[in-house]
């Protein structure tokens, strides 16, 4: 077996994110379908306005958050596969050398789609359990007649079947593309930086600075994840605080939960793979007498800047999103309070963010401290 079930266990990140996406989608799409089915029974003017507003909110939320999450799962999946091939390139090279075709090996990568399936099922089921309370919440002012939760088979298929199949196909295709490297390159663990990194660009930088730079250059996807993690934290926490006033407490709790789950999964995921990808380097540096703190600063420190950038983008994003929602979507619903940028909240979130980020970083530098020199050499 080339790729086993145990490899998919590591895909917990994708599982969580796919689950979140399906959760959000199930809530809003199921609601929108059931609401649309009873459009004719809405008689009051206020009810109609509320109907319009809720349908539009549903669309915006589903498109923005769901789209974001799907994009992340795709990037994450590709990242996992690339990482898997990079770290197992020797074994895969041997298989190719023995005469297995690239496609024959790539076929096994379908199991990576399995985690998406599990995530989607979990997301769908948990959303379905929550739907009754969600419907009640949406209709708290009783502007519509009572809405019943209906099960829609095609929606279940759309949210579970399609992603599972799509991601499996994507995994196989991508693995196939990456496995087209010549056998020797796989065996020698040649990687792409060889051709991409300009040679004499950083002539007289001290080693530690250089290492920080090359750690980041070598794994650009991780830069995206770290920034994305900060983005989620910043956008979702601030949005949830504003939503408390604009919409409801439950919505706020939902948004903040999804945001934090996303932020932590992606951050843990990326930092773990930074540390794992650099164990040999760190062990060698330790042999030579580099201090723990030098190692962790060189390997982890470069990401801090990107997390701040992610935070700023997240702040702008949530402001723009809420402004659009309030001015366009809720335009004809009278009672929505005005929405302005909340500087105090932003500052509080930023402080919280820095604290969280540094604590997590500290945790990972402790992990570096526990790496044993010998375990690397025994391989």
């Amino acid at each position: 077996m080339i790729v086993g079930m145990k490899d998919t266990v590591k895909l917990i990140g994708i599982l969580v994110i796919a689950g979140c996406a399906v959760f959000v989608w199930t809530l809003f799409l199921n609601y929108n379908i059931d609401l649309a089915a009873m459009k004719d029974e809405i008689t009051t003017q206020a009810g109609m306005a509320m109907y319009q507003a809720q349908v539009s909110t549903g669309k915006v939320v589903a498109a923005v958050s769901g789209g974001c999450l799907v994009l992340t799962s795709v990037v994450m999946l590709l990242f996992y596969i690339k990482n898997y091939i990079d770290t197992h390139s020797k074994e895969l090279g041997i298989l190719k050398a023995l005469g297995y075709s690239g496609l024959k090996i790539a076929k096994h990568f379908w199991v990576f789609g399995l985690s998406v399936f599990v995530g989607c099922v979990l997301g769908y089921v948990s959303a379905f359990c929550y739907l009754p309370s969600f419907y009640e919440l949406q209709n708290a002012e009783h502007l519509f007649p009572e809405i019943k939760v209906q099960f829609h088979l095609f929606l279940a298929f759309l949210l579970i079947g399609i992603p599972a199949i799509g991601f499996s196909v994507l995994a196989v295709l991508y693995a196939f593309l990456r496995l087209r490297h010549p056998v020797l390159d796989l065996l020698k663990e040649k990687r792409e930086y060889r051709t991409k990194v300009p040679r004499r660009e950083t002539k007289d930088k001290p080693f530690l600075k250089d290492l920080a730079g090359s750690t980041i250059r070598e794994r650009k996807t991780l830069v995206f994840f770290v920034a994305f993690s900060a983005f989620c934290f910043s956008a979702m926490v601030q949005m949830s605080m504003s939503m408390k006033d604009l919409s409801s407490k439950t919505m706020a709790v939902m948004v903040i939960t999804i945001g934090l789950v996303l932020a932590f999964t992606t951050l843990f995921l990326s930092l773990s793979s930074v540390v794992k990808g650099n164990t040999k380097t760190i062990a060698m540096m330790r042999v030579f007498g580099y201090k723990y703190s030098d190692c962790s600063r060189a390997v982890l420190g470069g990401y801090r800047l990107f997390s701040y950038i992610g935070f700023v983008i997240g702040t702008v994003y949530q402001y723009a999103l809420l402004k659009i929602m309030v001015t366009i979507v809720f335009a004809d619903v009278g009672s929505v309070p005005e929405y302005n940028f909340d500087f105090k909240m932003c500052a509080v979130t930023f402080v919280l963010f820095i604290l969280t980020y540094e604590i997590v970083m500290y945790g990972y530098s402790q992990r570096i401290k526990r790496l044993s020199i010998k375990s690397v050499m025994l391989e």
């Binding site: 990687r191 040679r199 530690l208 330790r286 580099y290």
Partner: protein, 230 residues
């Protein structure tokens, strides 16, 4: 002077204990060229790791001058390695995402050595400075790791089967570079190998047999890397 006494080291837990080093004592004089000979699995690498401060023994002491490194805290031990130790492994362990020059710089920066390019030239890699390890042959990679270890100006150079992955010709070449640099800089060499012929290059030959030293002998006359058999 390195005074090693009564080193004991085991792996595994109480029920399934494997004593790898069974009370080893040895004295190594400064500037000496020591070869540790022994069959595979006799505990050579473990011994080397213990006396170089990469691993802690269960008991016994390793005293450099007056400094017992088995008693040092982790930070002090790191500092000790930084100031004193160079390491060369059978598998090179060059950093794959850095050029030869940067790999050598990893050692040089620790000693504040700005003339590290000389060391690259000294191992004959001046034309390969900008190459990545995957673009080098085994012999070239090992020479790069020699340059990396010596660029930090160690007082003691530890080598664990440095030619174990090389063919005869490149093996001799690497040993020859090491020998010449040893004469020039005068550091102490402790080299582990299972190749009996290499022992003829050393001043002192230590034979190890299942966790114990079975014989220590001095060579009157050392052969060069090109005079020994293989």
């Amino acid at each position: 002077m390195i005074a090693i006494s009564d080193i004991v080291k085991s792996y595994g837990n109480a029920g399934n204990k494997n004593q790898v080093l069974k009370g080893i004592s040895l004295q190594i004089t400064d500037g000496d060229f020591v070869v540790i000979l022994g069959a595979s699995g006799s505990g050579k690498s473990t011994f080397l790791n213990v006396i170089s401060g990469l691993e802690r023994p269960d008991s016994g002491s390793v005293v450099y001058g007056t400094n017992d490194i088995t008693k040092l805290s982790d930070e002090k031990l790191t500092q000790f390695r930084k100031d004193n130790i160079g390491f060369i492994f059978q598998q090179y362990y060059l950093l794959p995402n850095m050029t030869v020059e940067k790999n050598v710089r990893m050692g040089a920066d620790l000693a504040g050595n700005r003339e590290y390019r000389e060391m690259i030239n000294a191992v004959g890699l001046e034309n390969k400075k900008g190459k990545y390890p995957s673009e080098l042959s085994g012999g070239e990679q090992q020479r790069a790791s020699v340059a990396r270890a010596l660029a930090k100006k160690p007082k003691v150079l530890f080598l664990d089967e440095p030619t174990g992955a090389l063919d005869e010709q490149t093996g001799r070449q690497v040993l020859d570079y090491i020998c010449r640099l040893h004469k020039e800089y005068g550091f102490t060499i402790v080299m582990v190998t299972h190749n009996q012929n290499i022992a003829e290059m050393a001043n002192t030959v230590v034979k190890m047999n299942s966790g114990k030293i079975s014989e220590v002998s001095a060579n009157e006359k050392q052969k060069t890397a090109y005079e020994i058999g293989w």
